[in-house]
Amino acid sequence: MIPRKIMLLGDIGVGKSSIARRLVFDDFDASYKPTLGVDIYSYEAEPGPQPGASAKFVIWDTDGNFGDSIFSLVYIRHAAAALIVGDLTRHATLESMVETGRNFLQAMPGRYCGFIMNKSDMACESINLPSQVAQLAIPIIRTSAKTGENIKHAFLEAADAIRRRGL
């Protein structure tokens, strides 16, 4: 099985590394340590009830400082999917998430793109999403790297889409 490349994109401090660590090692470190450059994780999803549901990923956890410059860098090449992360406690990061999602779909047409709204453990239930979200038809998943809520689900959704699209 050929591993598929999934990019983790989003502003600094939204929890990309914590999401990757929760998925791969099932741990969480509350102290913030910014990613410099790119950290690469390998992960094999457990086989699910559906045939072909198991999947191998290479997760590219990127430096939030790349911003949209990531689309002109070598890192993004041959990515099958991007999970774009926003912080539910900082609205500006959600707006940035939407913009990055739009740019990813333009730069990498046909690839899977999902929005991850992280830190659900710290946010209230009702969040005013940026108005442009509805126009993009990108799936949105609320997660908490701290509690593990929906982290696997977000990647399995990506894996399922990658399989269905033959990416």
Partner: protein, 383 residues
């Protein structure tokens, strides 16, 4: 400034270089910022490595097994042009394993003679001090963002607290206003019972006792409804089947008439609605029409009409009326045209009606005609 540069490259166990040559090559490469080399065959299997920084690369295995960052880039690496500028570079990457992060590498892939591809790996640029400084600057930015988020959270909590306090005050006012009159009625009934017993009129005493029991039960029901209203919010108040005619009849019978006659007109359907708020709304308006009447005799007309998506109740009296300049302020808390009133009734009515999505308005012009008409637009649920 402290340097983060790794030790000079030394050959791996698979190297066939002599020790002296290895040292010489290592020094030369290190002086150019190169700390590890990996030789690959055409299929990108690792054939040889050189330098401790690439010690994690497994000889004889596919390159992607040791460096998954290359996954997806295999075809590009295999077809690199054999020129000086034909390198593929992957700067500043680190492979994270269960044992922790691997070395941070700048990777460059070159095509060699006879189709061989070489991977040169050298340590990430910058000293440990520079890297740490970069980390700390970002950590400070994140801390500032966290403080800002906490401030927002605090502001939101304070706003919630203010709303909670307001609700508490409103609840206290409702309890004071709406339960006081029935409590007073209970006291009067007790006096009547006492008088009836004193006069030896058992029949009257029993009748008043029955009335007292009924009123106390209603008080208890009202109190429960208010408690539910206070704790759950108006939209979560129980929805019950209400016979509007029976409700208004019961309200009229429970109020002292003071010489004021009350008539019912129009269509009075039964409907599922927020029963307690409707009871309190109509009770307050009818009670106001009676108690604010300035005549020994008077008349109140209570009408209901079905507008499809809503019921419209009107309570019209022939009392002194409300001057236009007071018609806005009467819906504010603690505003009453009578100095001896608490002035909460209409504020409560408006709050109830707005909470269920309706409206309440007043029409009156005492300069032309006596009386006032309150109109309540009460939406039906689920339409």
């Amino acid at each position: 400034m402290h340097s983060s540069k790794p030790p000079m490259p030394s050959a791996g166990a698979d190297s066939d270089l002599e020790a002296a040559e290895r040292a010489q090559v290592g020094t030369m490469l290190a002086s150019r910022g190169v700390y590890g080399l990996v030789w690959l065959d055409e299929d990108l299997l690792v054939r040889r490595r050189f330098g401790t920084i690439v010690a994690f690369v497994t000889v004889g295995a596919p390159l992607v097994q040791s460096i998954p960052a290359c996954i997806g880039l295999e075809d590009e690496i295999k077809t690199l042009p054999n020129t000086r500028d034909g390198a593929l570079r992957l700067p500043n990457v680190s492979m994270i394993g269960a044992d922790g992060p691997g070395p941070r590498l700048n990777l460059a892939f070159y095509s060699m003679e006879r189709g061989r591809v070489m991977v040169a790996a050298h340590a990430g640029t910058g000293t440990t001090l520079e890297i740490e400084l970069g980390r700390q600057i970002r950590a400070r930015l994140m801390a500032e963002a966290a403080v800002a988020a906490k401030s927002q959270e605090l502001a939101r909590t304070n706003a919630d607290l203010r709303i909670a306090n307001t609700k508490l005050e409103q609840f206290a006012a409702i309890v004071t206003h709406d339960l006081k009159a029935p409590m007073r009625a209970l006291r009067y009934m007790a006096d009547d019972i006492h008088a009836a017993i004193g006069a030896g009129d058992d029949h009257a005493a029993r009748s008043k006792l029955d009335e007292l029991r009924r009123q106390s039960t209603r008080l208890s029901t009202m109190l429960s409804a208010l408690l539910r209203y206070s704790s759950a919010g108006p939209r979560e108040v129980a929805i019950e089947r209400v016979d509007t005619r029976a409700l208004v009849t019961e309200i009229v019978e429970s109020l002292p008439s003071n010489g004021i006659g009350v008539d019912l007109r129009g269509t009075w359907p039964s409907l599922d609605t927020f029963a307690a708020p409707l009871d309190l709304t109509l009770r307050n308006l009818i009670d106001n029409a009676i108690k604010h009447h300035d005549g020994a005799r008077g008349h109140v007309l209570v009408a209901c009409s079905d507008h499809g998506d809503a019921l419209e109740f009107s309570i019209a009296d022939d009392g002194p009326g409300i001057p236009p300049e007071h018609q806005d302020s009467i819906f504010l808390p603690f505003r009453s045209l009578s100095s001896n009133r608490e002035g909460m009734g209409l504020a409560i009515v408006q709050k109830m009606v707005i909470a269920v999505g309706g409206t309440v308005t007043v029409a009156s012009n005492p300069a032309e005609r006596r009386g006032a008409t309150f109109t309540v637009h009460w939406p039906k649920i689920g339409l």
